[in-house]
Symmetry: C2
Subunit: 218 residues, 2 copies
């Protein structure tokens, strides 16, 4: 196995949906993937692309977002190492309808949709893992939708901070993105996020430190 393949394998092996495979099976996938590297700010794909590729993040982070006709941005999701994305409607030739942009220097493994589909047919257990992951995302997306529709910005922000605290298993958290991106994710504006953060400080619920550090006191 050459150096490039070793690199791919390292990528595949960290992906939750693949990580229970045997050595041999994993090598099978490795053959089908190629590796790509993007610099911060570079675009992986954008609406109109007809790619049906599966992207798996190896190192770095990728943000997935949409634009409205008047140019406003909605951040859909941020991919961390081990996460994947791509048009998973593997049968129908669908057009991409989101933007994907590297938030920092990012390395990905890429697989053609048709290969991935073949792979799922060979390993149904993986298909079910993928199904689980997509279902989880669907549930999250529907919850997000409901929150934007029903909750005030302050509530959404508080819920968001609580989730980050849970993810980071600490009441001292580092925001994983800029206030601008948080605003875009929560369906509001950077100014409002900033003001609401201040309100939470005034209410004694949080303290804000340098470089996106926040201590949750309530």
């Amino acid at each position: 196995m050459n150096k490039r393949q070793t690199e791919h394998k390292r990528c595949i092996s960290i992906v939750p949906i693949f990580n229970h495979l045997t050595e041999e099976e994993m090598n099978g996938i490795v053959k089908e993937t190629t590796s790509l590297t993007y610099a911060r700010g570079e675009t992986l794909f954008h609406p109109g692309d007809v790619s049906s590729r599966l992207y798996i993040v190896h190192k770095g982070r990728v943000k997935i977002y949409r634009l409205s006709e008047n140019g406003k941005e909605q951040l859909v999701r941020v991919l961390e190492p081990g996460d994947f994305t791509g048009e998973l409607t593997l049968f129908n030739e669908t057009t991409v309808d989101t933007y994907a942009e590297a938030l920092e220097k990012t390395q990905l493994c890429v697989m053609e949709g048709v290969d991935f589909q073949q792979f799922l047919l060979t390993y149904p257990a993986i298909a079910i893992k993928v199904l689980n992951e997509i279902s989880r995302r669907l549930q999250q997306s529907e919850e997000q939708s409901a929150q934007i529709a029903l909750e005030k910005v302050e509530t959404r922000l508080a819920l968001y901070l609580a989730r980050i605290a849970e993810e980071q298993k600490s009441t001292t958290i580092t925001l994983p993105m800029s206030q601008k991106d948080i605003a875009s994710y929560l369906g509001t504006t950077p100014e409002t996020i900033n003001r609401k953060l201040n309100e939470l400080v005034d209410k004694g619920m949080i303290q804000v430190g340098k470089s996106r550090k926040i201590v949750i006191t309530d």
Copy 2:
């Protein structure tokens, strides 16, 4: 095959994800399903239930919705005959977090999650079909989320009417639900929907008739 089984089979055979199965395969599923009937307004399940069942609509319609803490409702989706729902995170024991309520007299086929999972392992092609369907839903949900976050109510309503027109393949449409439910679906209030409909009439873009009929002139 007895009468009840025939009934089930009729149910299974209309579901897009199952309808390419052979006679024999279909009979295999039929054995695993039971039939349920609900009256208009009855609840199929609600948050807190730990059921992992798969529900397939045979006749009638079911609305899936969420409630915020302050009691406001967000309509997530309406299931028509052939549609399915259920916690598809088949592995992890997840708790239901939505309400499901029959919009009219509704007949469903029900399968236990564990049976369904076994089924997907046996027929990987069906797993991929389900994956396709869930991916499509995810895409729709993310689009919905972005629209609520970024677009004005008038735009959302116009897009909604356009989609209904496309679904019904006509510029004379019958709204599939009450203004109250449309409001809930679009993340606004019945009063606002009513006013925006009137504005569209004033602008000469639509005409409204009796019993939820609308003619789209623009």
